[in-house]
Subunit: 244 residues, 2 copies
Amino acid sequence: MDKRQISQHISKQYNEELEDLREKVLAMGGMVEKQVEDALQSLIDLNVEDAQIIIEKDAQVNMFEVKIDEECTQVLAKRQPAASDLRLIVAIIKTVTDLERIGDEAEKIAKMAVALAEDERTFSPQRNHLNSLNTLGKHVIDMIRLSLDAFARMDVDAAMDVARLELKIDDEYVGLSRQLITYMIEDPRSISSMLDISWAARALERIGDHANNIAEYTIYLVQGKDVRHTSIERMQQIANNKRK
Amino acid sequence: MDKRQISQHISKQYNEELEDLREKVLAMGGMVEKQVEDALQSLIDLNVEDAQIIIEKDAQVNMFEVKIDEECTQVLAKRQPAASDLRLIVAIIKTVTDLERIGDEAEKIAKMAVALAEDERTFSPQRNHLNSLNTLGKHVIDMIRLSLDAFARMDVDAAMDVARLELKIDDEYVGLSRQLITYMIEDPRSISSMLDISWAARALERIGDHANNIAEYTIYLVQGKDVRHTSIERMQQIANNKRK
């Protein structure tokens, strides 16, 4: 099923309402992706001013969620959607929850940027850890982008790629955490700032989880199958069924 | 609006379906609450066997979510609910997501119990921190119970109490984190196990967030107002409107 296959309704307005909802989700997704990107950059640059802007902007992300939820409820009440339309609405209600929480994690990263910037004493030893964090962050941002792309194109294969990326990110996260602990033990003066980096890494890892959730809703939307809590092998089977 | 005021439908079966959904949410909530309780206890006792049982049981929590979501979609398709019934379904779809994630956090706490138990060297100095963690945990479990209670009785006042408890828990969490950092700096050999306790505390704090989300869905359900991202003062105003 691709975008063109969204069931067409006699009511032109109903079609427009569904299309409008999809576009709003993608717009919210774009905003959230930007928040993560900017938050990561503010942390790498230890730029307090930029970090403050991100923290303030989270309210806009939150309002976006409330707005889309409202519209979903209205469409449910007015149009009484069935089959794939109903799945679209349910997938959107779930997706915006995850997008909002990605926004929350971006806010936390920005707060860590402020905390780290204020702890100047430990500035120089953090550099290489910030670089590792940056690598993790870039991969997580790829995951958000891919999961939104999968949703936009209703592309099950892209959604499957998100699940694979998540495993990779989990490994990177575990590796970085070990690095940080080793460093803390070697130089206890670094503990406080290493912990800040560690919280930021944790936030990135959670963003990966949320992107993965979004990809799973897309598979549900397209296939009508709930693949949450399913192994990648099983997900691949479900994806293959589509092509038979 | 209390439970007796759930709109009664001509179709007896429809009434039963809605009631069945509500009961399933409460049953899932009870299961999740037990998981958190057991996970905390396994951590306090450093009991690896108990912790393993909790980790295995998380799959049951996950299946519960998928099952309830399926039933909600079926009711939406078959009954085309409106007004308060529709809000009930949307609230349930959101609530089970948070319950499932509370389950995930319980699993993480159990994993920390395993990690801590294996790190015997630092056993004795952890005691007082485990006690602080226990206190935080008990309050978080109170929050889950209260939020489920608010949902069961559709009680806006109880839901408001959850929001108040969350502020308290955030303070406790920040206090405990500071304690742990101080301890790590004083005794770098403790870093690894202090971090495990710190992750567990973080998991508890997140459980509090999820319980708070559930309470907010209850307010939405009863009042038809979305109070997410709203200050406690504003929430109180909305709650008061009900009584006017």
